[in-house]
Amino acid sequence: MNNNISDLPKKFKGLKHDFSSDQVTFKGVNWGKAMMWIFLVSDTFIFSCFLIAYMTVRGSTPIPWPNPSEVFALTIFGVHVPLLLIAIMTFVLITSSGTMALAVKFGYERNRKLCALFILLTAIGGIAFVGMQVFEWTKLIFHEGVRPWANPMGANQFGAIFFMVTGFHGTHVSIGVIFLLIYARKTWRGDFDTGKKGFFTSMRSDYLAIEILGLYWHFVDLVWVFIFAFFYLW
C-alpha cells in the first residue's frame, strides 16, 4: 500500500478518491496514528470549552480582571520584568517541541541512538516546564493568596479559570513526560529494531510509535500557544 501511494490523486481529487474507495480511507496512515489524531481532535474541543468558558466568565463580570502582565511578573536582580516566567516556559516548551520533531525524524531514519537522545531531551524540557509551573502555582497560592474562589487582585473567577486551564494543560505535559521517558528507554533498548513485544500491549511496535508520541507532544505545545495568547497576553 505504501509503495503506490504516490501514484494516487492528490489534494481534493485525492480526498474524493480516498473517501469513495473501499476499505481504507486514510491511505498510508497507521491506525494508531489515525486514532491519536482523533483523540487530539476531541482534546481540542475540551481545551476550546475551557478557553470559551474563560472568555464567557471574563466577559460577564463587572469587576476588573487582574492584569496578567503584573500578576506573573518577576523581579530578577532588582529589575521588574513583566510575564518573564511565562515567556521562559513558552521558550522551553517550543524547544522541547523542536527536539521532538527531530526525534521523529531520526526515528524515520531508524537512527536508534539519536532518536532516544532527542526523546530524552524532550522529556527534560517537559520536566523543566512542569517544574516552572509548580513554582508559579506555589508563588500564586502561598505568596499572593490566589484561590479558586477569590484573589486579592480582582475578579474572583480569575483563580478558578487559572487553576483549571493551566492545571489541565500541566496534567497533559506530565502524562507526556511519563510516556516520553518510557519511549526513550524502549528506543534506547532497541525494541523497535528487534521487534520486542510491549509489556502492556504485548504487540510489536515500530519507530512509528515515536511519530504518534510526537503528535501528542506537539499538541501539548499547540495548546500552550493558545493559552499563552488568551490567558496571559490578552
Partner: protein, 112 residues
C-alpha cells in the same frame, strides 16, 4: 540495514526544514512576548496577539505535526470540525454580554 535506511530516507524531510520552523517559532514567540513587554494596547494588541498565535499554531500543525505532507482525506477530517468552535465562540460571547448587562442592570442600576 543499509537498504532499510535508504528506503526510509525517502519519506523523511531534511533537517533544514525543522530547524527553520524551530527558528521561526522562536522569533514569533519573542514577538508575542514583545507585545506585552512594550505594552501595546487596544486593537493593535489584540490583532498582533491573534496574528502571532495563528502563525505559530499553523507552523506547528503544518510542519511539526506533518499535516502539510498528509493526504487531504486526513487533513480535512481533522480541520473542518474546528469550525464548530468559531460558532461556539460567537454564541458564548453573546451570552457573556447578556450576563454582564443583567448584572449591571439589576445589581447597580436596578437598586435605585
Amino acid at each position: 540495514m543499509t537498504n532499510n535506511i535508504k528506503k526510509k530516507v525517502v519519506n523523511t524531510h531534511g533537517l533544514a526544514v525543522y530547524l527553520w520552523i524551530w527558528t521561526l517559532l522562536f522569533v514569533l514567540s519573542a514577538c508575542s512576548y514583545a507585545v506585552d513587554y512594550f505594552q501595546f494596547q487596544g486593537i493593535l494588541r489584540w490583532s498582533l496577539i491573534l496574528f502571532f498565535m495563528f502563525a505559530k499554531a499553523g507552523l506547528i500543525m503544518a510542519f511539526f505535526m506533518h499535516l502539510f505532507w498528509e493526504r487531504y482525506a486526513l487533513v480535512n477530517v481533522l480541520l473542518w470540525p474546528m469550525t464548530a468552535i468559531v460558532a461556539f465562540i460567537f454564541l458564548m460571547s453573546a451570552e457573556a454580554k447578556y450576563t454582564v448587562f443583567t448584572r449591571l442592570f439589576y445589581f447597580v442600576a436596578g437598586t435605585g
